[in-house]
Amino acid sequence: MSEISSEDRLAMRDSFARLLAAQAGEKALRETMASPHGFDENLWQSMAEIGLLGLIVDPEYGGIGGDAQILEDLMEEAGAHLLCSPFLSTAVMAASLISASSDEILKTALLSSICDGTKIFAVAATGENGLWTNEDISVEAHKQGDEWILDGSASFVLHVEKADHLLVFARADGGLRVFLADPATDAVDVQKLATNDPTLRLSKLIFSGANARPLADVDEAAIETALELAKLAQAGEQAGGVKRIFDITVEYLRTRYQFGRQIGSYQSLKHIAADMLIEVESAASAARHAARMLATESPEAKTFVSLAAFACADAYRDVSAQAIQLHGGIAYTWEHPAHLYWRRARTGLWLFGSSDQHREAYLTSLEAA
């Protein structure tokens, strides 16, 4: 359980919201998404200064020891602003994986570099098919003398552009392990992937005998924990994003006049908006409940993370598409933010697994329960 009080949690969310309003508003977002690295280094430093990058890192290692609930809270803010940043890979996945290591010296060094914002991590977690399952991992680790080397490819890796370190899920000795590797060597070929979501960067990595160092005791259980946390974080991000595009839409329904009436006075649009609200609220409830279950280490946590993963992804898809339809042409211009939410919603429909996969996992765990 987290030591952070609910007042502190609110204060943290509030300071993040203020930071995002000041440095990651729509103008900044558009500059950032068009920039070569796809994130704002100044904002990253500001996030480090208020402790966000060490959010889930134990205080012993320089973090603030936050739990899944505070993470979910903050991800809602990030989602509302369509934050372009390696937060998910560095401060969530990498922080979670490294925290599981038993190598105290390495752990201390790496975690403090995450907390103070000096190092960025990219996590190579899935293979060519982008299924985010253990079976889909295709990087192989071999021992050459005392050294480990990696071969094979990983795809859909977030924000490699400015990453200082890679954490690579690889097959070794018949199981899965996580390796620390350097993205800047010739043995790692980074290929940029074309995407229809300009708010993030994706790459494919090809390892050809790349030197790597295993994270001691970071096993399949640690991988699962990190992926669960990533799914929860994404669900929170989606819950925040869907709420924001919904609010923008309702405001338009109130202020746009056609035929001498506010368009929101037409029953057909009013009903669509009411249905959208149900989706928006369900998404937030699902994400927050899953966060509570994870934070309290409930045996049902995995079940509710799966539920949140598909509920939030599907709500985001439906509501962001309806948002464009309710606005009409104006929301289909590049200048309007609606399509950015709509594109981000599409990304979330397969990043860390598809809605169908999450639904299956949900059903399976219900049967087991």
Binding site: N129, G130, L131, S155, F156, L193, A194, T195, N196, D197, L202, Y257, Q258, F259, G260, R261, Y266, S268, L269, R317, A321, I324, Q325, G328, G329, A331, Y332, T333, W334, E335, H336, A338, H339, W342, R346, T347, L349, W350, L351, S354, D356
Partner: protein, 401 residues
């Protein structure tokens, strides 16, 4: 073979013969200006071959045939991805209206011929920021100025205005009467001083629509194409022409066969997607929907043949086909999983699911939003009463906004 089948066969043969020069493959990698130049040559080739202005009078350079031949040709033409889009609006609405309502017929004949050959392009200046679904709510005004008029205001969503030589425009000439009664219809020279065209980048990445600003644009009264205050009727006549445009039961997205190919190639839980119940259901539904729409189109053709005007049932076509295209495209990219994420800027919406998905919202908004079409169906076909209209019967400048 019936006459129309012979016509179709000949048209198909001609189209096949020019596909290499102007078709999809020839357009690949061209810049927009190169593509437009190719489009102009293609339009001229159509003119030379007798496939331009198919249903227009011969004295204007047309072929003097009926709507049926026109729609037949278009349905064959759309199979090949020719660069005909630049002329779609121009030859579709403004130029026929010029033929019908142009005050100076000598001038009209000259323009029509140049438009048919692809040398000149016309745009249609209707929608505005305040007048989208509510066309008659438009605010651009024309005030008397000497013997002519002076136009001020802003139009929005004007397709191909950036390449247009001329345009037809509806403006408000009297704000003191109910909104439909204070409109007048003119043509304008798009190169005239005070006309400022600014392309709008759309969410899909392209910029075929524009904002057009009018700042003290002066025109003489011989540009007027309707009685003063009688512009709405001509605007409606312009939109009526759409009933004679070829429809596409694929909603201008990929054909169903492409989806079936995809479903055969992709696996769900180790089995081909084509064997999955949910996928089969979607395919069956789409098949049924598309054949239903084709039957409606066939019926409209028969009505035209009998000399009747097709009814508002035509609005079903766009409504149903584009909505289902959007759903099918989503399903296709869901099936492709992370692969559907890869995006190719040059992909065409007729043969790429991601491109079809990303462009589908325009189909559900432009040329009458779904919600407006549903109203049309409910009110015009079913005869249900209109919604409360606070703007009805009151002077335009008294309408709440």
């Amino acid at each position: 073979m019936s006459d129309i089948e012979t016509y179709r066969k000949n048209a198909a043969t001609w189209l096949e013969s020019v596909v290499q020069t102007y078709g999809k493959a020839a357009r690949k990698g061209l810049s927009e200006s190169e593509d437009l130049a190719l489009g102009r040559r293609y339009q001229n080739a159509k003119f030379e071959a007798g496939y331009a202005g198919i249903n227009w009078p011969t004295e204007y350079g047309g072929q003097g045939l009926s709507h049926i031949e026109k729609v037949t040709f278009e349905s064959e033409e759309m199979k090949h991805g020719f660069p005909s889009g630049y002329f779609g609006i121009s030859l579709g609405m403004p130029v026929p209206i010029l033929m019908q309502f142009g005050p100076d017929q000598e001038f009209a004949k000259e323009r029509v011929l140049k438009a048919l050959k692809g040398e000149e392009i016309w745009c249609q200046l209707f929608s505005e920021p305040a007048g989208g679904s509510d066309l008659a709510g438009l605010r651009t005004k024309a005030e008397p100025d000497g013997n002519g008029w002076k136009i001020n205001g802003q139009k929005l969503w004007t397709s191909w205005a950036q390449y247009s030589d001329y345009g037809v425009i509806v403006v408000r000439t009297d704000p003191n009467v109910p909104k439909h009664k204070g409109l007048t219809y003119f043509w304008v020279d798009m190169k005239a001083p005070g006309v400022d065209v600014r392309p709008i980048k759309l969410a899909g990445g392209d910029s075929h629509v524009n904002e057009v600003f009018f700042d003290d644009v002066k025109i003489s009264d011989d540009h007027r194409m309707s009685p003063v205050g009688g512009g709405f009727a001509v605007a409606m006549a312009t939109l009526m022409i759409e009933r004679y445009v070829a429809t596409d039961s694929a909603g201008f997205g990929p054909h169903l066969e492409l989806f079936i190919d995809l479903a055969k190639a992709i696996e769900i839980n180790g089995k081909p997607a084509i064997a999955d119940g949910r996928i089969r259901q979607q395919i069956a539904r789409n098949y049924a929907m598309r054949s239903g729409l084709n039957a409606i189109t066939a019926r409209a053709m028969l009505m035209m043949k009998a000399g009747m005007t097709p009814g508002p049932e035509g609005s079903l076509n766009k409504l149903v086909s584009v909505r289902s295209r959007q759903k099918l495209s989503e399903l296709a990219i869901d099936l492709q999983g992370s692969e559907g994420f890869a995006y190719d800027d040059h992909a065409q919406q007729k043969d790429n699911w991601t491109s079809s998905w990303i462009n589908a919202p325009t189909g559900r908004i432009a040329g009458g939003a779904d919600e407006m079409l549903l109203n049309t169906i409910a009110e015009k076909i079913l005869g249900l009463p209109q919604d409360h209209r606070p703007d009805k019967g009151i002077a335009f400048n008294q309408i709440p906004a």
